[in-house]
Structure formats: structure tokens, C-alpha cells
Subunit: 120 residues, 2 copies
């Protein structure tokens, strides 16, 4: 996989469902994922790791318990480890996520929004 | 720093010199850096870590000893740990780099192209 060039736009074209992270590339024990987001996710945290959001298109609010973080194209925000958050996409959003391998989208809460990492 | 929203375009606007990586964000013990590239760098490798290139604009060749990898906007390529490479930017290129904290741009060779990580 590390021998391949991956194109972000082409990868997103292959994804149809929101909230389904797909692996774009790996670096050591971290994954760079592409994802479509639409609507509100669930409140959760990742007790053991930070999580990086890089918005490519659309408008995304990262709801925190004490404030909202507003993101648009080209914006990067890191949710610190252990901090409860709930992403809210205003229409369709495309984004990159960076986190350690094995990280699950619903973090510590699980439930039916949990998605295993998909391959492109 | 993890409390801040960082905008990639705004970050690049603050960088004038090529080959000077600036920290955009950190996630755990990794840095996401923004950089301008122009012309040819130096042959080097990072014996202990992969290095991810994400091209935002321009055309970048990652020269490897056995082949050239051609990257354009939206392309992602991971140079595996220990693999000798020499980036060659055809005119100005802007890119994101992801690698562990403490990684140096010239890897195992050092020399006068070495740049300490800059803050934005």
C-alpha cells in the first residue's frame, strides 16, 4: 500500500455512504482516512488518542461540551484525547481523519453508528 | 495548540521560503507540517519512520533509486522507512507532510539543507 499513489478526490468518488471512514494511506502505526459526513454523529471520545479533522469541502461543526468549533474547507482541528465531541455536518462534508490504527469512529461509546475501517 | 483551528491556505500564506517545514498541528507524537517546495532537494532517507507527502498544488516528483513517483494536487504518497528519496519540485509546490515529532527534513544525511521545524 505504501508503494501506491492515492488521490484524495478519486478516493472520495468511490465512497457513497456518510460516516464510513476509508483508509487512504498508512504511516507507521497511523492511518489517514477519507470520509463523507452528513448530519449529526454521536457524542463520544477517544480516551487514548487525539483525533485530527481536515475539512476538504462543506461546513462542519465539532460540538464540544463547552463550545462549538466551526470548520470549513482547508481547516484543521485536533480533538484532544478524552475530550467529548459530536461532529455535525451542515449538508455533505468531505474530510480527512488522522489517528492511530485501530481507532474506531464511535470511540468509547460504540453503538450502531460504529463503522469498521473500510479499504478503498 | 490543539485548541486552535488552523487553516492550511492561511498557513501557507505565512511561509515564503521553500524547504522550511512549519508545524500546522500535532496529533499525539506526530506532526502535520505545511511546506513550500521548489527545485530539487537532497537524497536522504528516514531510517526509523515512514514519511507522508500530500501535494496541494504543483507537480512533485519523488525520485526513488529505482523509479520516479509523480504527484499532483490531491495525491498522497508514503515513502517507507529507510527508502532513499529525493523530492524534485517542478516550479513551486505546496504540500503537507506527516511524520513523527523530531523528524528532520534531511533525515540521515544532514547538511546545509537541514531545517529545524518552524512554528507558524
Amino acid at each position: 500500500m505504501t508503494d501506491d499513489v492515492r488521490n484524495i478526490a478519486a478516493a472520495l468518488d468511490r465512497i457513497t455512504e456518510p460516516w464510513q471512514p476509508h483508509r487512504l494511506a498508512s504511516i507507521n502505526d497511523y492511518d489517514v482516512k477519507v470520509v463523507r459526513l452528513d448530519g449529526e454523529f454521536v457524542w463520544h471520545s477517544h480516551p487514548e488518542t487525539d483525533e485530527l479533522f481536515l475539512v476538504r469541502s462543506g461546513r462542519l461543526t465539532i460540538q464540544l461540551r463547552d463550545r462549538d468549533v466551526e470548520l470549513g474547507p482547508d481547516d484543521v482541528f485536533v480533538v484532544p484525547a478524552g475530550v467529548e465531541h459530536c461532529p455535525l455536518a451542515h449538508g455533505e462534508v468531505t474530510a480527512l481523519l488522522i489517528e492511530p490504527k485501530g481507532s474506531v469512529n464511535t470511540g468509547d461509546v460504540g453503538g450502531d453508528r460504529t463503522s469498521q475501517l473500510r479499504e478503498l
